[in-house]
């Protein structure tokens, strides 16, 4: 029944540029000049002319070598980076698994942090109360609930963060390499959780270098090269092209 649903993510001519070196001059005048397509000295396009649409329930992988704009693309979709040209529209919210532990305050307890982060991602107080137990249970953090966040082990931090973000209702899930952390048992748990979310009809956007992960979750993939969208198609075909372009091993 979701087959006829319209696009959930629409990216149109997306482009963003960065400065190549921190030292390049920036003047107050820049603030008042309009955003033109013009490229200033010392700047480069990290991503340009990227156009694609995603339908609800699709699971999309993003492949490409380091520095080709994968994470940048994800950040644009997440809305934590603003494009210099083009637009990206997400119909509904996103649950970003990027910079996982970023939103957590070290001085506050795990309990406070869960409330805070879940709240900032749009859950109401009642919803948080309902889900609090399953969040804690998933992270296996029952014993450290009243410990300041900074005293947790780094693995535990990621666990807590993942279980909060994965409890959000948002229809789009963005995952950036975070699955590489945590011990094996927890990683399996994360995989299962993502599987479950996909089964619920959510949309997945996965950046990964692991072909196994990509094949496991995704049906379609975007191949970024030099900041441009080089190929957009079924996962196997995209991986084949990527491997052909970039040599020996996957």
């Amino acid at each position: 029944m979701q087959a006829v649903a319209p696009e959930i993510i629409t990216a149109d001519g997306l482009g963003v540029r960065f400065r190549r070196n921190r030292g390049s001059r920036r003047s107050f005048k820049d603030l008042f000049s309009s955003k033109k397509r013009r490229k200033r000295a010392g700047e480069f396009w990290a991503l340009r002319d990227v156009t694609f649409t995603v339908r609800p329930g699709e699971a999309i992988g993003v492949v490409g070598r380091n520095g080709q704009g994968k994470s940048t693309l994800l950040k644009l979709v997440a809305g934590v980076l603003l494009p210099d040209e083009g637009t990206v529209k997400v119909h509904g919210g996103v649950a970003p698994l990027i910079e996982l532990t970023g939103g957590f305050a070290g001085d506050l307890t795990v309990r406070d942090n869960i409330h805070l982060t879940a709240g900032m991602h749009g859950l109401s107080r009642r919803e948080i109360a309902e889900r609090f137990d399953s969040i804690v249970e998933f992270a296996e953090a029952r014993d450290v609930l009243d410990t300041p966040f900074k005293h947790l082990s780094s693995g535990m931090k990621v666990r807590v963060a993942f279980s909060v973000v994965s409890q959000l209702d948002e229809p789009v899930l963005l995952v950036d390499e975070v699955l590489a952390v945590g011990d094996k048992a927890f990683r399996n748990k994360c995989y299962q959780r993502i599987d479950q979310m996909l089964a619920e009809g959510r949309t997945l956007f996965l950046v990964s270098h692991s072909e196994r992960d990509l094949r496991r979750f995704c049906t379609r993939a975007l191949y970024l090269d030099g900041g441009r969208l080089k190929f957009d198609g079924p996962i196997e075909e995209t991986l084949a092209r990527y491997n052909k372009d970039h040599g020996t091993e996957g």
Partner: protein
């Protein structure tokens, strides 16, 4: 084994435009509470700190200007005179100082949540504002102890609070993004704030300025605002001309702040 949870509804059609503002406001509240919690949970004296600073400053100036020298500035009771402007000054000073680090302090948070960006400034204005309100009992206490007479002009107090909030927000919106590009501004801000303290009618009243220096009061939006805060105890300090100019400058700063902020926020996010 992961237990199956029952939140299997995918709420893709939660009406976002309306929900957006609600989420922004809720986040603002959460962040403000977080600021206060962090501040009060990590220090032993907690709440007392927000009182201690203005109180200590006031006592020092009270000592210098009434005990060491004979007071020719302001009005009696001088300690109430001092506190009535010192408390809002501490709000202004703290919020402007902090908003120069609005993005830098919570880099990771800013990078991971797609909230409207003005929240990072607004939350500082709010948390410092709440600390200000919480410090008001000190003023009340000293007013009672010294027998200062309150009058009906106390009704102007909320107007003062409103103007201070708007002014701080405006300055913060200008400062927060610019500091990301020009780190020097953070230190420059501290210097300017120190000068501004003496250029504002805190230890003196706007009327005390000598003839040739009246422009200092007119150019400084804080003088009108402080005159509102003082009017409730010292009706002679109320100067509607200054208040009007303050309100005007505040509006201009706020508008400039909004423009600068909108223009620069894209660059800020790249820079972080």
């Amino acid at each position: 084994m992961a237990k199956t949870r029952q939140n299997s509804c995918v709420t893709s059609n939660r009406d976002r435009p309306a929900g957006h503002r609600a989420i922004a406001l809720r986040s603002l509240r959460l962040l403000t509470v977080r600021d206060l919690k962090v501040r009060y949970s990590t220090s032993l004296l907690g709440y007392l700190w927000s009182i201690l600073d203005p109180l200590l400053m006031s006592v020092i100036y009270w000592f210098i200007f009434t005990q060491l020298m004979s007071r020719s500035l302001g009005e009696a009771p001088y300690i109430v005179f001092l506190l009535s402007a010192m408390l809002p000054w501490v709000w202004f000073n703290g919020a402007v100082g902090d908003s120069s680090r609005a993005f830098l302090r919570d880099v990771k948070l800013v990078r991971s949540v797609s909230l409207p960006r003005w929240i990072w400034v607004a939350r500082i204005v709010c948390s410092k504002g709440i600390e200000f309100l919480l410090s008001l009992p000190v003023l009340v206490l000293f007013a009672i102890l010294t027998g200062a007479e309150a009058n009906w002009l106390l009704v102007l107090y909320p107007l003062g609070v409103l103007l201070t909030g708007a002014l701080v927000l405006g300055v913060g919106l200008i400062l927060a993004p610019l500091v990301v590009f020009f780190r020097d501004l953070e230190r420059a801000t501290k210097l300017v704030l120190r000068v501004l303290f003496y250029a504002s009618p805190v230890i003196y009243g706007a009327n005390d300025l000598p003839q040739g220096f009246a422009f200092v009061a007119w150019a400084n939006p804080l003088s009108g605002i402080f005159s509102l805060f003082r009017a409730g105890f010292f009706p002679d300090q109320l100067h509607w001309g200054l208040v009007a100019v303050s309100a005007g400058i505040t509006c201009v700063i706020l508008v400039v702040g909004i423009v600068v902020f909108k223009r620069s926020v894209g660059g800020v996010l790249k820079e972080l």
